[in-house]
Structures are given as C-alpha cells and as structure tokens.
C-alpha cells in the first residue's frame, strides 16, 4: 500500500533527491530524479497508474510521478500539447478528432472488459445481441419481451463522449444508436443506479462488477478474462498510455515498469484489468482483430 511507499523515502531523506537514483539492474532506461513525470487522463485507468507510480517511486527514490485524472480527452490533449509526459486514454487516439495521432506513441498497458449489467430483479441472465440492441435502441421497453419479469426497461447510458460508451456502442451494439436514457459518467454511480432501480440496464467495466448487479451473458458468452483474451467475448478495449514521440528517461523507465511482470502480473489484475501481455489477439484502431 501507500505506507510502504513513504517509508523508504523517510529513511533516506532529501540527500539523494539531486543525485541520480540507484538504477534497477533490469531496467533498460535509467530514471532521472530531476525530471518529474506527469500522467494525465482517463479516470478509469488512474487507479492502476497511480498504484504503479507509488510502487515505482518507492523503488526509485527521488523520482516524481504525478498521476492525475481529467478524462481521456484531457489526457490526449495534454500529451499532444506537451503539457503532460503521458496521456492516459480509454480509446485509440485515432478515434478522437483533433488529435495528431501520428505524433503520439501508443503504449497499450491493459485491457478492460465490459459487460451489460442489469438490476438483479429483471429475471434474465442472457441476452442475444439482437435483444441487447433492441433494448438499447429503445425498441424493447419491457423485460418480459425478452423473457424476464414484467418491469419497464430503464437505460443507464454513459455520456456520448465517453470511451466506455464508444466501446460498447461499437462492439456490443454494432454501431446502432442508443435511445435516450439516464446518463452517468462514473462507474460507481452507474452501478449504484442499476442496483437500485428496478428494470435498469447499463454497462460496466468488469472491475466494477459486484453482487449488487447482475452481469448479463451476451449470446451465451460470459464476460470474463478467458473469453476476452480470445476475443470470444468481443466487448473489450485497451487502456492506452500515450507519449509524444518515443519516451525517454524516467517516462520510459516508468512505462517499462508498467509493462513488466511485476505490474502486469499483480497490479493490473488487482485493479480489475486484464494484462495486455496475456491477450491472444490484437485489435487495431479500426476494430480489426488479428491473432497474435
């Protein structure tokens, strides 16, 4: 936790803040103490990066990594303008207008899976894609039309600009336009609303699932790690950390650290993501999937 992050620094105060930190022998790049790194953007990715930064700093005392939220758009804008060293994003830079994607270097650090989630009382635990599209486009308005209880459907959407919505829109709804519904930005709130509102349906990253809501299977396929790494379950996306040009110095050291086993094997899983290293398929910005 954070306590161990503070302790080593307390033991060797200030003196080494000017001197280069002792480099980890595994590291190809050497972190430089006098170069603070800022990683800004996606709030979904923030816990992972923040935890990784803490561990990294405690291993390389004297380095400074600041992790901030602000949203994927902010992250991409800031990294493109040079205001931040790393831009955290839920989506490909190519998908956003106004970002010089060719100047940015993509580091896919994790994969996030998403599931359609409903109030446990709807009486349904599987939907076909047609049914899901029917529900989200507003053609199906009562759960009994899909074999569930007689309750009205209440849609809980993400904002139009949200990366989660974009992924769900593209891979779960096949690009069909969602009907108007309640719109919430944060996963915690969405989960709360779905768990409390009869007939509510929405979508959440897998890390936010718990017993208060029910994750629905899509065409009989459960949203879990095994199905995602093979793309059997298609509703997933990368978490990206963009740099402007190839990274160097501490930035590179930090990105390397995140891609290393320590983070991929532990922190990524703990924060509810799927390690990008375990993926058996690859997907590009246009959505074309290739086997690795």
């Amino acid at each position: 936790g954070s306590n161990n992050a503070a302790t080593p620094q307390q033991e060797q105060p200030k003196t080494d803040s000017s001197a280069p930190a002792p480099a980890d022998s595994n590291k190809p790049a050497e972190p430089a103490a006098n170069e603070p790194v800022t990683a800004v953007g996606s709030t979904a990715l923030q816990p992972l990066v923040e935890q990784a930064a803490k561990d990294f700093m405690s291993k390389n005392s004297g380095t400074q990594i600041q992790v901030q939220g602000g949203g994927s758009g902010t992250g991409l804008s800031q990294v493109a303008s040079g205001a931040a060293s790393i831009g955290n994003s839920d989506i490909f830079a190519e998908e956003k207008d106004g970002i010089p994607a060719q100047e940015l270097v993509d580091h896919k650090v994790a994969v996030v899976g998403m599931a359609a989630v409903a109030n446990p009382q709807v009486g349904v635990d599987n939907l076909t894609k047609e049914q899901l599209i029917g529900i989200f486009t507003g053609k199906i308005t009562n759960w009994k039309e899909v074999g569930g209880a007689d309750v009205k459907v209440t849609l809980v959407n993400r904002p139009k600009s949200s990366g989660t919505r974009a992924v769900f829109h593209q891979f779960a709804l096949d690009g069909n336009e969602e009907a108007e519904g309640i719109t919430e930005d944060s996963s915690g709130t969405v989960r709360k609303i779905i768990s409390e509102t009869p007939g509510a349906i929405g979508y959440l990253a897998l890390s936010y699932l718990n017993e208060s809501v029910k994750a629905l299977k899509l065409d009989g396929v459960e949203a879990n790690k095994d199905n995602i790494v093979t793309n059997k379950y298609p509703v997933w996306a990368y978490e990206h950390m963009y740099t402007k040009g190839e990274p160097a110095g501490t930035t590179k050291a930090f990105l390397d650290y995140i891609m290393g086993d320590e983070v991929q094997g532990k922190t990524v899983v703990e924060t509810g993501f799927i390690p990008v290293t375990e993926m058996k398929v690859e997907r590009d910005a246009q959505g074309n999937v290739t086997q690795k």
Binding site: T43, K96, G98, T154, E180, D185, K192, I193, T197
Partner: protein, 330 residues
Amino acid sequence: MNRQGSDGMTMIEKNVGRQQHRLARDKSYLQSKLLKPNKKQSLENFFGKAIAMSCAALLLIAVISIIYFIASKGLSTFFVNQVSIVDFLTGLKWDPEGEPALFGAFSFILGSFLVTVLAALVAAPLGIGAAIFMNEIYPTFGKKFVKPVIELLVGIPSVVYGYVGLTVLVPFIRERFEVLGFSLLAGGLVLALMILPTITSVATDAIEAVPQDMRNAARALGATRWQTIWHVVLHGALPGCLTAIVLGMARAFGEALAVQMVIGNTSKLPESIFDPISTLTSAITLNMGNTIQGTAYNNALWSLALLLLLMSLFFIMILRILGRKKLDNR
C-alpha cells in the same frame, strides 16, 4: 481678578498675552494649514485609492479574461465549426459525434431553467421565512442556533448533497410516486437545499440592516409584528432579499456535481416534474473531460458554458429591473 499668575503677570495680562499670541499664531497657522499640501495625507489617500483601485482592476481583468476565454471558445462553434445559432438554441437533438453532427441544446437550456426556477420557488420563501424568523420572531434562538447551523451547511460540498440526494431523495420519490426517481423534482429539491443557506444568510443581513427605529415606529403605531415585518422590514430589506435570490439562483444555475447525480441527464424534453432532465452544467461536466480541445464537440460544450453565462446574465438583468422598480416605490 488681580490674583498673581504663576509667572508674575496678572490674570488680565496673561489673558491678553495669550490672546495676542493666539491671534498672531492663528493667521499664519490657519493659512499654512489651509495651503500646506499635506504630503502624508495626500499620499495616504493616493495609495489607498490606488490599492483599492488595483484590486478592483484585477477583478475586472479576471472577469474580462474569463469572459473572453469562454466567449472565444464558445463562439467558435458558430464561427469556426459553422453551426447555426438558431439550430443550437432550438434544436432538440444533441449528437455531436453523429453523422451529421447535431448540436441542439434546447433540452439543456430548458432543463437548467426549470431546475433553477424550481429551486428558487422552493428555497426563496423558505430562506426568507427563516431569515425573518431569526431576526424578528425568535432572535435569541435564531441567532444562536439556526444561523450557525445554516451557515455550516454552506460548507457541505455539493458532492455530499448529491450523494444524499441520490441515496435518500431519489429512492423516496421513486417509491412515493412510482416513477424513476431521477427527475427534475429531485434536482430542484437538492438545489433548493443547497441554495437555502445562501438565501437565508444574505436575506438575514438585509433584514438586520433595516434600522431598529423603523420597527419601533411601526410598533408604536400599533402595527402587529407581522404588519411590521411585511410593510416595514421586508420593504426595507427588499433589495437585499432580491440579491439573496439572485445569489441563490446563480449558485443553482452554476451547480454541477450535485444536480448531475440526481437528474438522470436525459437530453429529452421533460413532460412532468418526475421526468429526468439534463442541464447545461451536467452536459458540460459529463463530456468536457472526454473531448479533445479544439474539436467541434469541445467547442460546443464551451458554447453551453457561454450560454450558461448569458442566461445568468439574463436573470441578473430581470432582477435588477425588478429591484429598481421596487426601490422607486420607497
């Protein structure tokens, strides 16, 4: 009269001497006092004025730069991205990433307007009523207990209001009226609660400022307490009470996080107060972080901010006119 003064002069001599001295002193003294450009005083006045003026100027600079910033960003929707202003204001469909992109913000405008008016309708009578209670009905209890509690509530962050609204108010509305719960009503009530302290404290100050003499005069004329309150106290405090309402409405208008949590954020026109709505602020907060600066989508959000600014300006104007009218009746 012929007692000896301490230095040997008689009283008369002393008096005359003093008078001569005084007169002689007076001439030069007076003229010097009058004409001496008193450096200290004028410097002091100069610096005082300079300090005060530069503070005001700084304020002006801040305001102008913010307005410039918002306006330049907000107007580029129309001048750079070529969105029609009329479509923007009256359009019912908001789909900035669709093909073609649609920027119809009418539902947000209506939502902000409705939720603010609802909040003011609830909070203004309550807040001013509480202010009257604290000053006129039960001052000891009011000032010692009610006022501090109300002031404390200003400090409660809007996220907490939003959270309480989400966990208490929304389920209550859902169960009581068998509707969704996320609604105009919930937003209005949460906002009313949030602006209540503002309205109450400002109205209290205004009521306190009415001179006690006025109350005495009315009571001495046999006016009941209520008549005194209605005709004299409220009459005198009216501009202050209007200010209180303006401040409250301004806060309601600009409030983002709390409203966003309870109104449902549906960009559809509401048919009743139980329907979910969307406001300008919620549209901004939900999307601002996810959009890229300089894109049409982002600019459109700034246009919403600009609209927000213009709409509060509109409210300020209305209330100013109202306030001036009432003042003339004095």
